[in-house]
Amino acid sequence: MIRLRNIRFSYGSRSVLNGVDFSLDRRERVGLVGPNGAGKTTLCQIIMGLQMPDSGEVEIFGKIRRQEKDFEDVRSRIGFLFQDADDQLFCPTVLEDVAFGPLNLGKSPQEAKAIVSETLASLNLQGYEERITYQLSGGEKRLVSLATVLAMEPDILILDEPTTGLDEETTCRLLEILTSSDLTYLIISHDLEFVRQSTNSIVTLRNGVLENAGCREMGEGVTGRAMIAQR
């Protein structure tokens, strides 16, 4: 569903990605690890069309995407959880924020409200509808951001460090939601245990290229290397 070929990207003179090849097929669950500043977030932004690569090819849902316009339908079908929840929540109340996506997709207010309460309930956030978003705790913000993404019923999920700030119980709950669904997803995380349990392959981004991108086995070697990458 997602295919990146030889992606190069730099911020000004600092080059971040030096020819990344990546693919994600239906029902695949991939973990993306790598040291801080390796360019993991940047890579996801390229998939979402929030950054344009200097060179290389972005193919999503079978179509080559080049300009802003090509990404409009990508964005309504791929749910992207931002690394910083403060960037994601912008409506005054949780209800309005979670309903924002469904409304944009053309749902009626009634339908949107039903989706909101369903999504919130699935994350154990019942009764959060009228809470003020900027007064939530860090972990709560994370969960609500996740709800805003899930509420759009995306075909693919891209989660940028979904577990930071979550307690053990909530992390388990998230794991359960992810693994029990038949979603296709890409997870960036430094929480190796979580990545191992939620995905069936791991790729490492280091020095601007993806390592062991072809490895779809959960061998010790992979996680071992990823472990080193994390240190």
Partner: protein, 247 residues
Amino acid sequence: MGIAEFSHGDSLIHKLDPRAKISVALIFSVVVAVGRSIPASAAALLFPVILTMLARMSMRSVLSRLAVVNGFVLFVWMFLPFTFKGEALGSLGPLTVYREGVLHCVLITLKSNAIVLCAIALLGTSSVFDLVHALGHMGVPDKLVHLFFFCFRYLQVIHEQYVRLLRAMKIRGFKPRTDMHTYRSYAYLVGMLLVRSFHRSERILTAMKCRGFKGKLYILHHYNMKKSDYVLAASGTLYSAMLLVMV
């Protein structure tokens, strides 16, 4: 102090249709603004005071909002009584106080308080989303409506950033003094504030795009004009008409 601090509540006023509120606030403000009589302007204050009480707002925060307005009004009081020539009332040191100047000041004070209080009570008690929606329904062009929404949204972002940065400075023992260090720190604060708010507002826009935003804001709560809305609209208009004929 949040910008939208009054917008959540469940008083009678909070539940009114934003269209009715905007219309009444507009009519009332225009009538008050063009009025030239002091008794009428004094009487005008009564209406927003009643609304504020019905909206059950905290007296203290309303007064702190009004204090800002009256800060500006104070400037008027510092100049107008001495410069607006007319019948002399008396003298203050070398300066002569003129009757017309003082009357004008009283008028400006009454009017600005009435209008601002009315805006706080009627517009402050709706969420921006509702107001934006109402404006759209009232035939205001989409572009203007969005401008209004994003102005509000980014003011809030800048305010949030300011609070955060100031907190970051305070926890490291920053105390304002009159020295270079203080000035430089404040300069950094303002600089960072602008840069960070700009970037953050960009990220918010990208987040909105990621959730399917294509230039149109939808709304969850649809309002229907209820009896109470007609009561507000009628009483607001009547009241404004009465102010108009008052001399």
